[in-house]
Symmetry: C2
Subunit: 578 residues, 2 copies
């Protein structure tokens, strides 16, 4: 492709904080159409197709059968699984011309069960896995970061069906390996898998594949001692409180206008660990209130709260209406009609500061069992840096941010049971098959690669997913010799099946190179009057690891060899995953 | 792929009237999820991917740049073009969680202009063409025929942008050729292009690509004399009436309970051509009435009526409320408040029978100019078999049914003007680019191929789009020799890159062959104890043109050669289109 024909413009102005969004906007990869909705220009579409090819290859390799489910589905399908009502407003619902309820697919468990339902009625048909690569829509409240978190996205989603838990686990492991190979093949071997919360998917064991990066929205708990890795949503928060030698008296103190736990901690000069903070939520279903008491320095994990209560919840509003004294909530003397929970982070601690349920006052010397009675402690907190590893028990937890680029779930029979899918086992009994499901967000993966592989000037696309393999820069293409040499090389490379972007524009070297940097093509060939004088082309790589002159006569071989080597380097990592 | 692993079942029961729907359901290609919404099993998905590859190849070949537009778009984009309001309920509209209006893309002119808008601001960027292959949703009132007319469908849609009408026409012609090659390459060289009505697309010249078949919903007017081909919606209806020698007196006759024009014609013993029929419509915008008088044997063409009135219309309801005497409507003495139109089919005729606007009565001897006054005749009728060709003037029109598998439009500046897209021309003037757009329905094309290429037992997929190239039937795979020979051939074929479906099940020959017929794989190899005794495999084609024994030692060569020949035969036709 000639760059002069390529639709899309590149520009210098920094447009966004997140670097992948910034570079992919500046590089002419995408254009926002609406909140969390993007069109892709050709370079991004080409990257997408390459990633899809790698995904297909690995899915076929683990006996996947590619199928296609609809984007728009009748609500009746989602009523069968119960999710038409249990999922919140991220599920888009609308009516067709006849008044029938429809939904936009945000995941396809229901569709997968529907497709397999009557055609896998005996045990001999199992196991099998079906997958698709398709557009999905999820009405995210907070779309952000370009392709990192969008509302419309392209996703590979796969569904496996089994006759035993063991068989599911075996396949789950195969799929885990396939995912490792996929991330390695697209140039991100650094992606790790972490334990995750199965949340609304309704399963038991699940993993997320995470790229650790500061801009990630997920919080990952890692133990460098034993290798434990978990999304904070699924990680036990273990804190050992050391009790004070002496219990202080329980007494009310005036705290004036101080209401936040940080303020109170400063004002009373007690560390945050010695405060008992209140977090107030409401159930979505009836707006009833929940108050969670938790150690001041620990954050509440909303997912754990949701799982504990088995219902959707949201941060509380208008707590005063419920008789709650915001800014001074405490366990003792609390008059509000609400569910009260104590987080495990408080267990074993002594002499806490807590609210007195009275404006301008708090208690000091609060000792839970003495002053309130022994509660049932529940794990609702987010694990913290330096916390105790749930796996090895060492005080070694580190906390990082990550982008979730894929996930795998052991679903169990949630969908096959609710939708009534059965097969006849060898004894003629009707049994529900056991499912697994496996997703990869293709667009988010593109952004993640960009986020991880870039310099100040643009993306550095791995050769396996790069929009083109070679970028020819013909400096001074008004020069007949340059033009002829560049056109010849362009034609030769293409005829050997190499994907070439050819910058044949009459623009300055600086302009040309800055465009090339933004397009991030891994191999670059510069042809100019100067190189021709020396009888060479200049061959370099976008990551700057190679920069050398190559003889014109052997250019084709040199370039092919470089491409093959770069490809082999990436695939070597992938091939070692077995 | 082993057939024993393939998800999907095949069955004998005839399920539908339309043969492609019947065979693709019976063959395990698809499953209905909702009204006009389907999931595809692997065989159909494989066919789809092959068709998409051919389409991509031809689109890239005419300098297309593949991009991706969103399925869900903000309504604001469609408000810019005016189509948010001008399109009826086939456009799905809904609100997101924030209350913003969204639409489901049924076509992407708006998105294409949006993407190109600011990145093609000077004439030097032109011409260019962008295309995508993406899921679309159109809330069709009458989904039917399996994948023939659905609500959700996969479509290739392309948009070209030009600086002159001449340039558009040149590109339009290139795209026409590319379409001819696409249809030839998927095995349907019989697809013809016909003139079409540009309808809501807002353009001038347009063509539809039609597969002529009795089950087609479109009506195609063809003149075998001069080669004129047009959708009936766009074809002038030319009829030359021969006046009677003598004008009869205009007189009222009792017609009792006879109300339809057929009844009247029979009762009064006058041919349909001598009757003046009334067809009543209403404007969508205000429900006001339109009465069209037309020759009794000619059908009204709703599209022509819509274009003439420049508004959406629908067949009238409750005409009595408007003072119209249904069953006896005539031009003379019509009291209703409505628009009255006379179709050209009445022009020059004499002595018509028409309604008397009085229950149980009609007029005979109605001579329009004498009894009513000279009206302006408008062409609103559907061309009829034996009508006069608008191109060569001969009385040679034939009428056929067809399925529309693609279309191309010269759009003009409708979208670039309404959405404010401009570029600077060489004189520095701001000008709106001129657009073309080009669509192919991928799913409908699959169904059309099946409709055209099948026998009583199943589809006969052309080798270029077949889900697999070779189908191995191992009869008596419990026999060790058969099993070994089949497994060896399966492995060998796959290792040379041939796509093989291997029926390794222990089922009867009849069962196996009937499945193979439904799967429609073009090349079949039968291996059985009998063939092995003769030292051969049996090689045949699904279309029955080949059936021969091949030596086991040379099987690979024989099969490859056959595949190559079948492919070459199809591509030869395509390559001849230049």
């Amino acid at each position: 492709m000639r760059l002069s024909n390529l639709l899309g413009e590149r520009f210098k102005e920094r447009a966004f904080e997140i670097e992948s969004q910034n570079l992919m906007t500046r590089g002419g990869y995408m254009k926002q159409v609406g909140n969390g909705i993007y069109s892709l220009f050709t370079p991004a579409k080409r990257i997408q197709k390459k990633i899809e090819r790698i995904i297909r290859d690995e899915m076929d390799n683990i006996d996947g059968q590619e199928v296609m489910f609809p984007v728009v589905m009748p609500a009746s399908l989602w009523e069968m699984s119960g999710r038409f009502h249990s999922i919140g407003s991220e599920l888009c619902r609308f009516k067709d011309r006849s008044g029938a309820d429809l939904v936009l697919g945000m995941t396809h468990e229901e569709a997968a069960v529907h497709l397999a339902m009557n055609v896998a009625a005996t045990y001999t048909k199992y196991p099998f896995m079906i997958y698709q690569i398709q557009t999905k829509f999820r009405d995210e409240p907070r779309a952000r970061g370009g392709l990192i978190r969008v509302r419309e996205f392209t996703m590979k989603d796969a569904y496996s069906f089994h006759t035993s838990q063991e068989d599911l686990e075996k396949y789950y492991e195969r799929c885990h390996k396939a995912y490792e190979r996929i991330f390695a093949r697209v140039g991100l071997p650094e992606v790790i898998s972490v334990l995750s919360d199965s949340g609304m998917m309704g399963g038991k064991v699940s993993h997320e594949f995470m790229l650790l990066t500061d801009i990630g929205e997920d919080t990952i708990v890692i133990c460098p001692e034993c290798g434990y890795k978990s999304n904070v949503e699924a990680a036990d928060c273990i804190i050992k409180n050391v009790p004070d030698a002496e219990l202080q008296p329980f007494q009310k103190v005036e705290t004036f206008e101080h209401t936040t736990i940080e303020d109170i901690s400063n004002f009373l000069k007690v560390p945050m660990q010695k405060t008992c903070k209140a977090v107030v939520y409401q159930r979505n279903e009836d707006d009833s209130y929940i108050i969670v008491f938790i150690r001041g320095d620990v954050e509440l994990n909303e997912v754990k709260l949701r799982n504990h209560l088995k219902c959707l919840v949201h941060p509380a509003q208008n707590v005063e209406l419920a008789g709650i004294v915001a800014g001074s909530i405490g366990p003792v003397g609390l008059k509000a009609d609400c569910t009260v929970l104590f987080d495990k982070s408080l267990e074993g601690g002594t002499n806490y500061v807590c609210g007195a349920n009275e404006n301008g006052f708090h208690y000091t010397g609060f000792n839970i069992e003495r002053d309130y009675g022994k509660p049932e402690y529940v794990d609702l907190g987010k694990a913290i840096e330096g916390g105790i590893c749930p796996a090895c028990g060492k005080k070694s937890i580190t906390v990082s941010n990550g982008i979730e680029v894929g996930n795998i779930f052991q679903l169990g029979t949630k969908y096959t049971e609710s939708m009534g899918m059965t097969y006849d086992d060898p004894n003629g009994e009707r049994v529900h098959p056991i499912m697994g499901c496996y997703g990869i967000g293709v667009g988010r993966l593109i952004a993640s690669i960009c986020e991880e592989k870039h310099d100040d000037y643009g993306p550095i696309w791995p050769i396996t997913v790069a929009p083109w393999q070679v970028h020819i820069c013909a400096l001074r293409s008004d020069n007949e010799e340059v033009k002829a040499a560049a056109e010849t090389l362009y034609a030769e490379l293409q005829s050997t099946g190499i994907e070439v972007l050819f910058d044949d524009r009459q623009v300055s070297a600086g302009f040309m190179f800055s465009d090339a940097d933004l397009l991030g093509v891994p191999v670059r060939v510069v042809i100019s009057p100067k190189t021709l004088q020396r009888g060479v082309f200049e061959l370099s790589t976008r990551d700057k690891s190679v920069k050398e002159d190559i003889e014109i006569g052997s250019a084709l071989d040199n370039i092919s060899n470089l491409i093959n080597k770069m490809t082999a380097d990436i695939n070597e990592v992938a091939n070692s995953i077995k």
